[in-house]
Symmetry: C2
Subunit: 436 residues, 2 copies
Amino acid sequence: MNEIKVGLLGFGTIGTGVAKLLATNADLIAAKVGAPVTLKKIADLDITTDRGISVPAGVLTTNADEVLTDPEISVVIELIGGYNPAKAFVLKAIENGKHVVTANKALLALHGAEIYAAAARKGVEVLFEAAVGGGIPVISALRGNMAANNFSTVFGILNGTCNYILTRMTKEGVDFADVLRNAQELGYAEADPTFDVEGVDTAHKLALLVSLCFGTRVNFDDIHTEGISSLSSVDIKFARDFGYKIKLLAIGKRDADGVEARVHPTMIPVSNPLADVDGVFNAIRFTGDFIGPVMFYGRGAGMDPTASAVAGDIIDIARNIMTGIGRRAAPLGYGDNAVVTLPIKPMGSIEGKYYLRFSAVDKPGVLAKISGVLGKYDISIESMVQSARMAGEEVPIVIMTHEAREEYVRKALDEIDTFDIITQKSRLIRIEDNLE
Amino acid sequence: MNEIKVGLLGFGTIGTGVAKLLATNADLIAAKVGAPVTLKKIADLDITTDRGISVPAGVLTTNADEVLTDPEISVVIELIGGYNPAKAFVLKAIENGKHVVTANKALLALHGAEIYAAAARKGVEVLFEAAVGGGIPVISALRGNMAANNFSTVFGILNGTCNYILTRMTKEGVDFADVLRNAQELGYAEADPTFDVEGVDTAHKLALLVSLCFGTRVNFDDIHTEGISSLSSVDIKFARDFGYKIKLLAIGKRDADGVEARVHPTMIPVSNPLADVDGVFNAIRFTGDFIGPVMFYGRGAGMDPTASAVAGDIIDIARNIMTGIGRRAAPLGYGDNAVVTLPIKPMGSIEGKYYLRFSAVDKPGVLAKISGVLGKYDISIESMVQSARMAGEEVPIVIMTHEAREEYVRKALDEIDTFDIITQKSRLIRIEDNLE
């Protein structure tokens, strides 16, 4: 093989980055592969907008089939995003014996099993480093050098938009809505930010990490997903007083009882390295039975870092092609039949520590009523803060619990929220003290 | 191939960890490779000491040739360390067509080129993830998913013993000698700690990182190497006052003028994530032209994390064997002829900021004399601190410089140290403000 030809579906921001990287670092890549890697075709519905890079005549097409059926193209890069037509294109590429590189976490989180099975039948690789953490090489590390470990936990700060907003809320003491508006003006948040700020994007990425770490398929809808839009700057301030920062954390755990997979605002100790991950940066922390704790940190999004991940996957596949093999390993690193489907533990059964904030009228006996209900549900109090009293006015009462079972915590809050003295719905934020 | 058989040279701490991992996680590894991986032979001069794990009869031998010549063994794991007989064994394994996995940074830093050339001739892999950063998968990331980047910098905290000592000196304000003694009692430092505390181990690891990052061979003796044994707790305290922490940093840089590779105590801003890497943990931070800054963090040594890295390399090779290929990529990730030898810039030509501490008799005019010499050598002062005056006694004068050329800084210090008013040799610590 004296040249590896690849085709690109989707010429948006990331696609442009990939085209730029393959051109800029062509010599470097050729040195690492042993042959040039050439971008032969780019398919996109819009082939007129100037992307700021020059593309040879005949490379651009509006017809995806020109990529999917070209016998010279051995690797198809899917950067369209979303479910349709991305899924049909990926399956057709596989059907035509082409290896696939994709950054599409939504597609793989929901339809991964079907796509991986198709790839197994045809003996092609499906690589997706760019789907999690931008350029940070976590997926290849899990499939590759960390593969000898049984992992017990994965924690991730996986969405740059959320982390940017939380960082500014923390540093400036401002409210969610204000930071979001400013982030939109600066281009750090989409016009419709729902997918990011409600945690859906983070949950897609968690689904992939959980599959790789624990060798298990998960039903995406079973991942408990809470975003940051209802977070109050008051809670961020109280968190700091107790020695915590609030991050939108993707959490995966596995023990003998099963698998946890959840996304929600989480209080983590300020002393943990994850607490220092600020702005648009991403970080992922694993604990394996031999490697112990290990953390990866870098730019989790953006044209260039994501292109780095896509190009790394292309090099991986190109090295296979150069040595004459179809594929070396299944997408999740496990043999195709070794991946089991395990249920995710229901949130009610989770045990953890909780931050609870009650808004109550400041009257004698309020605290006795609240703590009475908590006691009834076997929830013991680690510490409590009641702000300065202004008789008859609303005051926040903050309680940090010891380990408690989530279903009892929720029942207690529901019961407390029926009291006349409670002026607003009580708030609950989960605490992860030990990120191992 | 229905079974991959490996042989182990060296049954010390790491070797025992590898044997334990291959036994404990045998099913997991088989699922990831598609066949069982079996440890067929272990060679060590001492086969009587109980390592706390059971080894089947006939596996242990004192004769390395039983590993090196066994036709069933396809992967030889070298964990003897040092140059001899490790080098002869590795070359013989390659000559016999066996793939090699090693944790031996000293061997590769000095004899890598010869070993890689032999591997190229025989078409076998030489993998060495465990040589840098214990279990942290940086080597495979550089060879693999990050391979599409031109790297401009690499910064590493690569020696757990040094970082443990520096962390305690920083937190407790105690002196080097006291912490070292205690670290030796606790088993965190060797009886003869020279290799670690004088920076030699860090320099070996830097040599490997520089080769991988920049695609260049370096002459190990050209790496400027300074350890931490002459660091004073006074300097650590002053560093904190200026917003810095002192770390033993491995520094690699590449620009159009050439390559820098150096190991020395370095002041880094407390706000940089590397400053938070405490105790026996390691971290490595890279900047690539597309990926941007990326950092890896984890346990940089110890039986289990290092075994994780060795086992990851074994899985990598086993997947090649299962797909019927000899090797996929050269040890440094570049084609064998694409690695060039570049000279390392001499330290005198380095430009940077400096912390200078002078011990002077407290007399009028002292500062004028010192700053006069600095001015003569084109070294401009960013800030200065002179401690409380006690007339006639010795006082420390600390100066932080703007960017200056090292050879001029050294000349200035040599000249200043000839003055009568100077009571001790002046101290110089390099500052890295921008770790990109």
